[in-house]
């Protein structure tokens, strides 16, 4: 029971990380119509930015700022240099150009930091474990990620429904040309939204840093899972991204934790472990296939 609760929390923690990425991806797609494969690279840039500042200064707060700044600035620069030219293009061109960006960023990171994974320590303030239920201890850092993720989700919700920027975002997603015709500087809006998406990706990356190893290729691994989230939730829908991320995060974590054990009842230990690991990595894709069979547009399709 303790284990189940612990894994459930781990799942939620993975879920909010995925949400931060999926929200940015889906916002960028919803408003600019661009599919950005390099979103995973921004996650990686955020993690490396934070790692760099953390090793130089030792302060987690500065590291967090550094990671956010690195991701947001990188995002705005690639929007200005590359992505801006892709708005009018078809998805194929967007995929390939951003694929080129991934190759570039991965090698740039190798050149700057080498291939060795970097490990960042958990800040002392957030280290240790806390009793979440009688007898159940859970790491503070992971709880903090959940809290930050949910706070960001709420802030994003408020921003989209209650601010001028949010109004433009909604308007842009429904009818791009009309927004432009009404005199809104669409270029600034695009760069802002892209920067916001990059910021969220960077936040996810820098928070994941102390849990996972910061390494080249970390972005693509999570990017593909993020795609699954977006497809399950419904492309272009932030609400869908939130629920999709939680569903994927929890089911993936639970399958990884318990499937090998269940299989071990049926076959030998090592084979069960290997097969369990394989099946649980495949699980979310099967989930996606089932969702597609029932609701091709995702669980929470965006309006219009």
């Amino acid at each position: 029971m303790t284990l189940v609760l612990e894994q459930l929390l781990n799942g939620v923690q993975l879920g909010v990380t995925l949400f931060l990425l999926a929200a940015g991806l889906t916002l960028i797609f919803g408003i600019m119509g661009v599919i950005n494969l390099a979103h995973g690279s921004l996650y990686m840039v955020g993690a490396y930015g934070a790692a760099l500042v953390a090793t130089k200064t030792g302060s987690f707060a500065l590291a967090a700022l550094g990671g956010l700044a690195a991701a947001a600035i990188t995002g705005m620069v690639i929007e200005f240099v590359v992505i801006r030219r892709l708005y009018a293009r078809d998805h194929l061109d967007q995929v390939l150009a951003t694929f080129g960006l991934i190759l570039f960023f991965n090698q740039a990171i190798v050149l700057l930091f080498g291939r060795q994974p970097i490990f960042i320590g958990i800040p002392p303030l957030l280290s240790g474990a806390v009793q979440v239920l009688p007898g159940v201890f859970y790491p503070v850092y992971r709880l903090a990620i959940i809290v930050v993720g949910i706070a960001v989700a709420c802030a994003l919700y408020l921003m989209i429904t209650h601010t001028r920027l949010g109004m433009l975002v909604r308007a842009g997603a429904t009818h791009r040309e009309m927004v432009r015709a009404l005199g809104v500087d669409i270029r600034v809006l695009y760069t802002t939204v892209f920067g916001l998406g990059a910021l969220l990706a960077g936040l996810a990356g820098l928070m994941a840093g102390p849990i996972l190893a910061v390494q080249v290729g970390m972005g693509e691994q999570i990017l593909i899972v993020t795609f699954v989230v977006v497809v399950i939730g419904g492309v272009g829908s932030v609400r869908g991204a939130f629920f999709g991320a939680l569903i994927v995060g929890v089911s993936d974590t639970l399958m990884r934790a318990f499937l090998p054990g269940l299989l071990r009842g049926m076959m030998t230990g090592s084979e069960a472990d290997a097969l369990g690991a394989g099946l649980s990595s495949m699980g979310i894709y099967l989930l996606m296939a089932i969702v597609l069979l029932v609701r091709p547009k995702g669980l929470f399709p965006a309006h219009g």
């Binding site: 998805h91 995929v95 150009a97 570039f104 495949m282 894709y285 099967l286 996606m288 069979l293």
Partner: protein
């Protein structure tokens, strides 16, 4: 009821064929030029291993073999992507399946234990290649049937995710090497040919490629190919004149997957090694780039693209370990400024030459 729809479909097909195909009476001068050009290229490709031996550059033959194999894979992807407009980001899955069919059958051939208890292993290229085509076709039918329920950006993401799923499946198959991959100690045998000789193997691949491109030529010129092109241009219009677009797209997707499976089977034999890397999403991306680089939707564009890409990759990799640092921006520049690919540039040059 079913009969009437079929008749209607057939009639619709004919009308489209008439609309799209320019009436071809006799052989035009351009066709003759094109045919001669093809013969010259083919002659050069046949002469290549002999030239390589004379120049004492044996790795030229292996480089050419890789190009030929990837030309098959890229051309198959092109049928889905360039002709049918289905942007599949997961075709490496079929490439990898083809490779694994060869690897797994070989392993069972060596260990002499039947697969699933009744399929005995083999090292006959004819059988392994056919099995590779069959299995990758089945996988393409399954993935395609699900993926084609969506379109646009979802389709891209879903094909990518399915390929990734298979990637994890093969990583977890410890019996077949898992992460480390599977070594095929000796190439499959084909009749009495010495497949261990690189030049002989090159000729086998070249022969397969020629047959495959002839088939693709037939497909692209056929009514089926024209309908497919029509669906790419305007799916709704095609549907409204009574064409079951889903079935057409699925059929093209399956054929495309089979071609990639065939290429994968050849690759496994050529490299004598298969690993989950063959199904990696980077591989899918590279196949797409080959298609775009050469010119999507054309018959020989993907082959040109494959050649250019592999030569570029090989020479950059020889120059620096961080070749992707250069290649990434090169891809971006190509996408941003040379949309039609090589074929587009060639057409442009021809246009200028003809005034």
């Amino acid at each position: 009821m079913v009969e009437t729809t079929m008749v209607e479909t057939r009639m619709a097909d004919q009308s489209i064929a008439e609309t799209f195909a320019s009436p071809k009476t006799g052989v035009s001068q351009r066709d003759v030029v094109r045919f001669c050009l093809m013969l010259i290229v083919l002659a050069a490709l046949v002469a290549l291993p002999f030239a390589a031996r004379a120049l004492d550059a044996a790795n030229l033959t292996t480089l050419a073999t890789r190009i030929v194999i990837f030309a098959i894979a890229a051309a198959s992807l092109n049928l889905a992507l360039g002709v049918g407009g289905m942007v599949s980001f997961g075709h490496a899955a079929f490439f990898g399946i083809g490779g694994y069919v060869v690897g797994i059958l070989y392993q069972h051939f060596v260990s002499d234990e039947p697969l699933f208890g009744f399929i005995s292993g083999t090292n006959q290229l004819i059988i392994t290649a056919a099995a590779a085509i069959l299995v990758s076709g089945l996988a393409a039918a399954l993935f395609g049937a699900l993926s084609l329920r969506t379109s646009g950006v979802q389709f891209i993401m879903i094909t990518l995710a399915f390929a990734q799923m298979l990637f994890f499946l093969f990583v977890s198959l410890k019996a077949y090497g898992g992460d480390d991959g599977l070594i095929v100690r000796r190439r499959n045998v084909l009749f009495g040919l010495d497949t261990r000789d690189d030049a002989t193997f090159y000729f086998i691949c070249l022969a397969v490629a020629v047959a495959f491109f002839a088939l693709l030529h037939r497909i692209m010129r056929s009514r089926f190919g024209l309908v497919l092109g029509g669906i790419r241009q305007n799916e709704r219009r095609m549907a409204s004149i009574g064409i079951p677009t889903y079935s057409y797209q699925l059929a093209a997707f399956v054929i495309s997957g089979m071609g990639c499976g065939l290429a994968g089977a050849l690759m496994a034999n050529f490299a004598r090694f298969v690993s989950p890397d063959m199904l990696h999403w980077m591989q899918s991306g590279e196949l797409m780039i080959m298609v775009i680089l050469g010119g999507a939707g054309t018959l020989f564009g993907p082959a040109l693209g494959a050649a250019l890409w592999i030569i570029l990759e090989t020479s950059l990799a020889a120059w620096t370990e961080h070749w992707q640092f250069v290649l990434g921006p090169v891809i971006i520049l190509i996408i941003l400024f040379f949309r039609g690919g090589l074929q587009g540039i060639l057409t442009m040059i021809r246009g200028i030459a003809h005034g």
